[in-house]
Symmetry: C2
Subunit: 331 residues, 2 copies
């Protein structure tokens, strides 16, 4: 089997660390692996394949002989360095949002539109983490019942903001338990025992960028240009795994039994739906798991042909690192 020369840009971040673990766990054919970061983290070490690897600073030579480059260091780094990696002949799988909506960049969730990878020109985008988790349940339902629109609210873990945010939640929580003042650096307000109803920049229509990604990325991934999504995205004091409460309207009526049958068979998804005995998806139970979980499936009481459900997924995995490696496997 061919093995690949790989670079990971953002190797010391929350997603970068998961990328290393997923590549190991799935026995990805790695010929060489180059962990790369900004100057700030260069010189640190990461482990891969049982050995310590020194993290290199990102330079113009970072992509020499690299065949596959994973980017997970934010939009600014991707904007500047993805073109460099492509010019050097690497195929890039980018976790940032900046190339996702470009017409010639496939935006891929392998379980949904894996075929789109074939049209790549050296760059494939990884979707937004909340969008990925929600679509894992929405798309299989769409294939059978034809999706029209959703109303959704997200409950997003701090790991979506990176390793520093995980640390901030811990420090603030300790301070709160001891009645000490909370210092907020990553977020504008304390996240410990609190909720922040804004993620990403505000748009003119009053939604945030994060909220509108569900619609724009959902349309592209599902090949569904009329799809509409009204979403409220909220940061919650959870370490890992995003959750989404969804009311979805379809062209065709679905029974709960039909919907459950479809969801139970969907790849990458587990149906956990016995709420009467307290079995339902939770962040704690999906954390560090590859599969997303869906439950609380019911006929929506305020929509025609509507279904309501609750879906959770580890957004460092399905929302980021796992999905990126799955894309690489398709290549």
């Amino acid at each position: 089997m061919k093995e690949y020369h790989i670079a990971i840009v953002g190797a010391t971040g929350a997603v970068g660390n998961e990328l290393l673990r997923v590549l190991e766990r799935r026995n990805f054919p790695v010929a060489s692996l180059r962990p790369i970061s900004s100057a700030r983290s260069a010189g640190k070490s990461v482990t891969f394949g049982g050995a310590l690897r020194e993290v290199e600073e990102l330079t113009e030579h970072s992509f020499d002989n690299v065949e596959l480059a994973f980017f997970s260091a934010g939009s600014d780094v991707s904007r500047q360095w993805v073109p460099v990696a492509r010019e050097n002949g690497a195929v890039v799988i980018d976790n940032s949002s900046i190339f996702r909506m470009e017409p010639d960049v496939p935006l891929v969730i392998p379980e949904i539109n894996g075929d789109d990878v074939r049209q790549h020109r050296g760059l494939i985008a990884n979707p937004n983490c909340t969008t990925a988790v929600a679509l894992m349940a929405l798309y299989p339902l769409h294939r059978v019942f034809q999706l029209r629109r959703i109303f959704a609210a997200s409950y997003q873990a701090v790991s979506g903001s990176g390793a520093r945010a995980i640390q901030e939640l811990k420090l603030q929580t300790e301070a709160a338990l001891q009645d000490r003042p909370l210092s907020a650096q990553v977020y504008p307000h304390p996240i410990a025992f609190n909720l922040l109803p804004r993620i990403d920049a505000l748009l003119e229509n009053g939604y945030t960028k994060e909220e509108m990604k569900m619609q724009s990325e959902g349309r592209k991934i599902m090949h569904l240009p009329e799809f509409r999504a009204s979403v409220t995205c909220v940061r919650v004091p959870v370490h890992r795994a995003h959750s989404v409460a969804v009311s979805a309207q379809f062209e065709k009526a679905a029974s709960v039994e039909q919907a459950r049958e479809v969801l139970a068979k969907a790849p990458g998804l587990e149906l956990v739906d016995e709420p009467q005995i307290n079995r339902y998806p939770m962040p704690l139970s999906v954390a560090e798991k590859d599969n997303c979980q869906v439950g609380r499936v019911r006929i929506d009481c305020a929509l025609e042909n509507g279904l309501s459900f609750w879906v959770c997924g580890d957004q460092l995995l399905k929302g980021a690192a796992l999905n990126a490696v799955q894309i690489a496997e398709l290549l």
Copy 2:
């Protein structure tokens, strides 16, 4: 001014404690105050008017000479003892859910349907806490634009489950920070750094009782029998104050400016809506405040004549104790 002989059943609970504070703070005309609890808590003390008061056990004589009785000790206690209090001539303001939907029991939010108090026959019900917080923003909009239906997701604090749940969140959080195992007693799973997408019992339609209260209580309080509400209720690791993300459809189109103007003038509600500078309602900022806060107001992108918004309120106050005392003031 006439003063009242008052009993508080459940005086040692989370809501009971707030009731004492609200009565003091609003200078309610109290002739005498009798704190009452189950045998388990009897003998404890609570403070009122600067003095310690011993808590009495609930007996058949608890309501002798009582004119006004607040009940906040759960449905079982209300079912058994509210009739006793009424027979003794007390007017009861009950915080449990069991009498709310009875046709001859007014269910009242003073800012919305205060006039309904007049029809009481010795018993007035206090609404569900999440419903109360959401209606504080929905009703003023309804008066102008005529509400049809909502899609909503709640983010409910542990204080809604009482004082023991607040303690459980603290203990579990400490254990989690120290990597010790978490013990869950109030809830079936850990709530620290987690989410529980089930509150109250499951109904046949797959919604929980808590979720359907928004529709049933909303219809009764707003006098709006066709109102539909599809809600997902979720417990979150927050100490105090419930939040709700709402997409609402109206008969008439509203602009964001019109909606904001209506909300800014609504009694008991503050408009906090400058998300671009990170001013929005949060549990931490409404905790221990009488007023609810609403923000993130925008035209809903998936509904005709729709508005989306985010509303927070201290459910021990507006969702429970404050509302109960406001009802008493109407009497």
